[in-house]
Structure formats: structure tokens, C-alpha cells
Amino acid sequence: MRLLADKIKIENLRKVFEVRGGGNVVALNDVSFSVREGEFVCIVGPSGCGKTTLLKIIAGLERPTSGVVTLDGKPVSGPGRDRCMVFQEYALFPWRTVLKNITFGLENLGIPKEERLKIAKRYIELVGLQGFEDRYPHELSGGMKQRVGIARALAIEPEVLLMDEPFGSLDAQTRNMLQKELLEIWEKTQKTILFVTHSVDEAVFLADKIVVLSARPAVVKEILEVDLSRMRDRTSQEFNEVRSKVLRILQEEAQKAMEMEKSELPLA
């Protein structure tokens, strides 16, 4: 049984974007939820509802219009060592080798070279990329690239790992494989993970808790605790029940989102 302390608290987060040509878009209206230490939380919601914006605010890449995100009680303002992110597009630095990509964050921390190599080696083994240290990103497959992305984020030993649809660009088989590997890594490292995804299946497979966001302007529609034991069986009845429940909520929201888009279309 893990500690039940609140690791992250998101309170009344609101984000408004200014649109070219005047006018505003309210991406997030009033988003509030909390994440316990060591929890694996998945955030799902209809397209364009602001999931990525939410993650970016938590990462410190964006500032909310109002509301606050606290980590261990302290408010978050900019990027920090305690939170690192993995991106859907991998975002590997193409001019650096696998090894150098992983040590990137460590360089920024001023860690000496030998130490950096040791840490990097450890995480390369964790993601199973031994032997690929001197390869360049363009020589790697999508799955391998994301492994590098994960290793790179973990190398600076953040307390929270933020993942923005990290497996969205991969094919189904690689995706499933990486999901399993991610769970193993999570078990080993005991990180708190916030995972944004489109795929309900993925969310149910991975998460302790699923946060369902509404359509724009987003609020938290529902928070579901997923009590199933790991490794979950995608074909089991319990799995299906949870999945159906989430899908139903999403469908309602998707309808609303479509209607909203129609109403926003310029009059012909």
C-alpha cells in the first residue's frame, strides 16, 4: 500500500488564450484534482479539450490565467528538476547521440562527466537500449526513440513524470510493448506519473486513476479510481466495465464538442 499523501494538487486552474483577430478561447475553465505520491494518473478527454495545455502548465512551460498547481505544498511557477516531460514527437536532439541525449539534463545540473555516464548507463539499461549509446536519433525506430525520451526524462530523477500521449505515434504492437515496459519502469522507480492519452484502452490498462475532462472550456467531468490488479487483462470483464464507463462519458462530451465547433463556424 502506497503513501496516501497528496503529491500534486491542481486547484481551479483556468487558462485563457488570446486568438488572432481578437477574442478569447477558454481552454481550461476550472480544473481541480489531486494526485497521490506514486500514483499513475491518466488524463483523457475529447480532442482539443486542453489536455496538453494542462500538462504544460503542470510542467511549468505555460502559466495559468488563474488557479494554482502545487507540488508537495509548494506552488509551481516554471520548469524544474522535480517535474520532467516526455513528448509525443519524442523531441530528441537530432545532433546528439542516444547517450548524449540522456545526459542532456545532467549537463544542465552541472554533474561531472564520469558521474553523468554512470547515471546514463543505468537508465539505458532500464529502458533496454544497451548497445545503442552511440547511435543518432535518425537511426532509431519510433519505439526506440521514445525509450530514449523516457530515459532522458528519468535521468534527472524528477519526482513527477509528465507524459503527453507518448505512444501516440507508434504502431499498436510497439505501443502495447512499451505500455508494459512503462509499467515495469514505474514499479522499479516508484515515480508519480501523469499520462495524457486519447486511448481509453491505454488509460484503463495503465492508470490507478482516470481523470476525464469535459469539452472546452474544460472542467473535470469525472475521476475514476481503477482498482484492478496489475498486469491487467484487456479482455476481462472488469476491464471492459471500466472501459465502457469511460467511453460513455467521453461520447457525451464528444457530442458537446462537435456542437460547439459547429456553433463556432463562421456564418457563410
Partner: protein
């Protein structure tokens, strides 16, 4: 047919020749040189307007080698290198800053766009008045030839940095985005600018030296040869320019490929 032992590298080159019909290019070259030698020698073509290669070598190149060739070559290379290095440094700094910092871009944008189209040659009369006649002026003209291509390309590179890389660098705790992300990202652009600048500067050498700004120089000798009507020397000069320019380009491409070894080859 007996087996011939051919070292692997040579075999590779040879196969490229036969497979891609590169040898056709060699045939054209041979044909060209033979026509160039034969036609003037037999008076079919005006020997004075088109001295055959043999005359170019004996009346142009050899006397030149015996007198000022080395000084000319070194002098021109010095002008070229000085102008290139200073032009690259200035263009690099301004280009990257303009590309990355919007404020700098706004400040300099119109000024750059106004001055950029002025060809290096057009600067010469003004430069002579400002800087006098001498090596400074020659290098200054060549500086112009390097500055703008480098500036434009560095600007492009810094402007177009993939935003997700910036995000990744930020979450990984980068304080100096310029050094750690922007410049490495822009390196292919920077090298393109440098490659263009190298060629442009070499071409400026003739113009820069033609006004007699210095006592030696390939461009100056070319101009002298033309003044005296020594066509053989004119041709020798032209060919020298061409050969050195080509050598520079080949050498640079090698260098570029090494620096950009992380980049997948296009196509």
C-alpha cells in the same frame, strides 16, 4: 579474362563510373580539351582570342609561376580568408540574434533588407574613399560578400527551431537555450551560409583586387593581363580561379558531411 586485383575503394569509384555513365563526362572533357588545343593551333579559330592550352601554359602559366604567382596566391587567399572570417563572425552573431530574439529582429530588419541587395562590387568606390587603397579595402569588399549570405542563413536556422525541442530543453533545466539548442539546431543552416559565403567571397576577390588596391593578388594579375592584352595569362588566371574555387567547395563539402554526420542523407 584474368582476375585483376583492385583495391576496394578504387573498385567502388570505378563501378560508379561505369554504372552511372560518369565516364560520359570524362569523354566530354577529353573532347573539349582536344578541340581547344586543335582548333586554334590550326588557325581554324582565332589563336589570339582563344590561346590553346599549350599556349596558356607556356606563355601564361609558366612565366607567372616564375614571377609573382606565389605572392599573388597568398595575397588573394589572405584577402579572402580575412573577409570571410570577419564576415562570418559578424553575420553569424547578428543572424542568430535576429532569428532568436524578436526585438533584435525588429530593430534591424528594415536596415538589413535595404542594404542587402547592394552587391559587393558596388561598395568598392565608397570603400576606397573611406578606407583608402590597400589590404583593408580588399578585405572589406570580401567581408560584404560573406556577411549577408551568412546572416540570412543563420537567421533562417534560428527562426525555425522546432518549438517542441525548446520545450524539451526547458523541462530538462536548460538556462542557455541559445547555446544548447538554437545554435546546434541551426548548424546545417549556418554551414549552408558558410558554403555560399566561401564561394561568393572567392568570386569577390577579382573585383576587390581589380582596382589596384594591393600590389599583388590573383585578381590584380588577371586585371593586368587584360590591360596588356596578354590573353594566355588571362586564361591562366581564370583557370586558376576556377580550380581553387572548386577545391574549396569540395573540401568544404567533406567538412560539412563530417559535422552533420547526425543528419540522415536526404532522399
Amino acid at each position: 579474362m584474368g582476375r585483376v586485383f583492385v583495391p576496394r575503394r578504387l573498385a567502388g569509384v570505378l563501378s560508379q563510373f561505369t554504372e552511372e555513365r560518369r565516364w560520359l563526362g570524362i569523354v566530354t572533357l577529353l573532347l573539349f580539351f582536344s578541340l581547344w588545343q586543335i582548333l586554334p593551333s590550326y588557325g581554324i579559330v582565332d589563336r589570339y582570342l582563344f590561346p590553346p592550352p599549350s599556349a596558356v601554359v607556356s606563355d601564361g602559366l609558366l612565366p607567372w609561376l616564375r614571377s609573382t604567382f606565389l605572392s599573388d596566391l597568398l595575397c588573394s587567399l589572405m584577402h579572402w580568408a580575412t573577409g570571410l572570417m570577419l564576415g562570418f563572425a559578424a553575420g553569424f552573431v547578428l543572424g542568430i540574434c535576429m532569428g532568436w530574439y524578436r526585438v533584435v529582429d525588429s530593430i534591424f530588419y528594415y536596415l538589413v533588407e535595404l542594404v542587402r541587395p547592394i552587391p559587393p562590387i558596388a561598395w568598392i568606390p565608397a570603400m576606397i574613399i573611406w578606407l583608402g587603397i590597400g589590404h583593408t579595402t580588399a578585405s572589406a569588399v570580401i567581408f560584404i560578400g560573406a556577411f549577408f549570405p551568412v546572416l540570412i542563413n543563420c537567421y533562417s536556422g534560428a527562426r525555425n527551431v522546432d518549438p517542441v525541442l525548446i520545450d524539451a530543453a526547458r523541462v530538462l533545466g536548460t538556462r542557455n537555450l541559445l547555446l544548447k539548442v538554437v545554435i546546434p539546431y541551426a548548424t546545417p543552416f549556418i554551414l549552408t551560409g558558410l558554403r555560399i559565403a566561401i564561394a561568393a567571397c572567392w568570386m569577390c576577390v577579382v573585383a576587390a583586387e581589380m582596382f589596384g588596391t594591393t600590389r599583388y593578388g590573383l585578381g590584380w594579375t588577371l586585371f593586368l593581363a587584360e590591360s596588356y592584352g596578354n590573353m594566355a595569362l588571362v586564361f591562366a588566371g581564370m583557370i586558376t580561379f576556377g580550380v581553387i574555387g572548386l577545391a574549396m567547395d569540395i573540401a568544404f563539402r567533406r567538412f560539412e558531411r563530417w559535422v552533420l554526420r547526425w543528419k540522415p542523407l536526404a532522399g
